[in-house]
Subunit: 355 residues, 2 copies
Amino acid sequence: MPLPHTMPTPLRLLSFALFTVFLIGLPIHSAHAADDAALRDEALGYFEPLPDKPVFKNENPANKEKLELGKMLYFETRLSKSNVFSCASCHNLSTGGVDNNPFSTGHKWMVGGRNAPTVLNASLHIAQFWDGRAADVEAQAQGPILADVEMGATQKLVLKRLGSIPEYVYRFGKAFPNEKEPLRYENIANAIGAFERTLLTPSRFDSFLKGDNKALTEKEKEGLRIFMNINCAGCHNGPAVGGNGYQKFGVVKKPKNMEDLGRFGVTKAEEDKNVFKIPSLRNIELTYPYFHDGRHWKLEDAVKDMALYQLGEPVSRDDVDAIVAFLKSLTGKMPDIVLPILPPSTDSTPIPDRN
Amino acid sequence: MPLPHTMPTPLRLLSFALFTVFLIGLPIHSAHAADDAALRDEALGYFEPLPDKPVFKNENPANKEKLELGKMLYFETRLSKSNVFSCASCHNLSTGGVDNNPFSTGHKWMVGGRNAPTVLNASLHIAQFWDGRAADVEAQAQGPILADVEMGATQKLVLKRLGSIPEYVYRFGKAFPNEKEPLRYENIANAIGAFERTLLTPSRFDSFLKGDNKALTEKEKEGLRIFMNINCAGCHNGPAVGGNGYQKFGVVKKPKNMEDLGRFGVTKAEEDKNVFKIPSLRNIELTYPYFHDGRHWKLEDAVKDMALYQLGEPVSRDDVDAIVAFLKSLTGKMPDIVLPILPPSTDSTPIPDRN
């Protein structure tokens, strides 16, 4: 690579120096790239990127009107007896799809028994609720509206409310065009569920899985490596980095305060005592406090507990730090939500009842 | 106007007929236009269109960062002791800037003493709250955060919470660039207030005032005419169609259940007993139930009460209908609100307290 003779000497020297650095750098760069490729290969054995588009349920196909209706109902306080709460109250889309409380506050200041899980990416889970008692987001959405300690309503009440509002009657017809009775309780949940399926939050981790080596920092990559090596990824895997199976809380060692029997309440099977759905770790940075009972506020403490109770493996402070750094790379791009405008009640709409 | 001789006879007859209709129609159209112009002239003696742009306070100038911060704080549940409530809970931007409850539910299921007024166009009012005890939206926003029955927090608590979150510290610096101590209690309210000043809702009524005769229906115009003739507009006037003065609830006749002494609580002046700020009628269709105590759910009933207690004038059912039709033309275009994404708490952020 002869340098042009017209170039003054200092510049020629600089060019030469830069070229040398480039030549020396090449193998280092290649070695890193090879490491990254190996890490990605290993990671792709456990994880996959989030789907590029929402995955809808065959029995509940999406259309534009249904998604808009679902968003409206997600923010609709008239689905609660008191008109104080909506889905968005506990699954707040400004704060990672949760309310950042150990247990959620509901009707008459009553309190739930388990930490409200995030709605973000929830449609990818094997089932819904900590104990998996609902098959999917559509089935889940039927629950809180009727729960005494949550929204405290009845099917009859919410159907009467929505049915008294012409715009809702019209919108249910558009959203469920082939149904004789579009405005029925299941369809409230179907619309909400369809909307919830759009709440996907791709993060830098997805970019890494798809081939962008620079999407993660070296520390995050180190955390990912440890996360797989010590087998966190044995449970927290798949596109949602969890959410796709059940596990006993306390595989190796029993944690304190395990009165909550978890999935046993659903199956009555002895082996399901203290078993919970493995939570997704996507956006875990935002969804504190942690575990089914919100016992930990710090992600570090949750990681340490998991290592202790699930893996029986002591982890160093540095390893916890690296794992936490990796976990924070799972914080994704939040969905852009334009607040829906809800139609006013009419003279025949049942009024709120705080009692 | 000779018709071309090449035109076949039936077409020539049709053209002639249409031309005749046009000639006859002209004066009718002109008479309507003259009526509309007169109605507009009269209306402009009472009302004015909403300002095209938000009007900010000299002491609290707007900048992009402040408006974004204000929106974030408006949706920030960490401004409440329990982390359950935000400004948006009671002043819900999906439902006309109110919660459609007679009294709002707050901390520990306690209940407020007056109906939550809408935040929409509120910056145009003479003062804030039903009794006018806060000078402007900036001053108002300081209240509910600290009120026992509303958000139940303290200045110390919310400053500690926001101050523990680096993104907020950074954003307050950007929003209040020339201040030594950008993150202080008054500035929380200043940012919220600046955001609230952007919440203007121009309606078809503004289009009419600006010259568009077709913006209102004949019935709405008739309602506007009656609204002025029977002197509703004596109080409900200005750009917000109200909000710019005080009046006794019961000028002519005392209504039932007037334990609430209103502005007397602020001024201690005998003549202010049962005096309240005249509410803005913009978006009144959406802001039921009505009056300071939410006593009426139907707009018709509120109109009848006003005629009876304020004007001492019986109004016919037809007139009430027309007035209500006019009032519904004040329902404006709601602001487009993209839900803000709030930064997560840190290890030093005080956790929620439901007690």
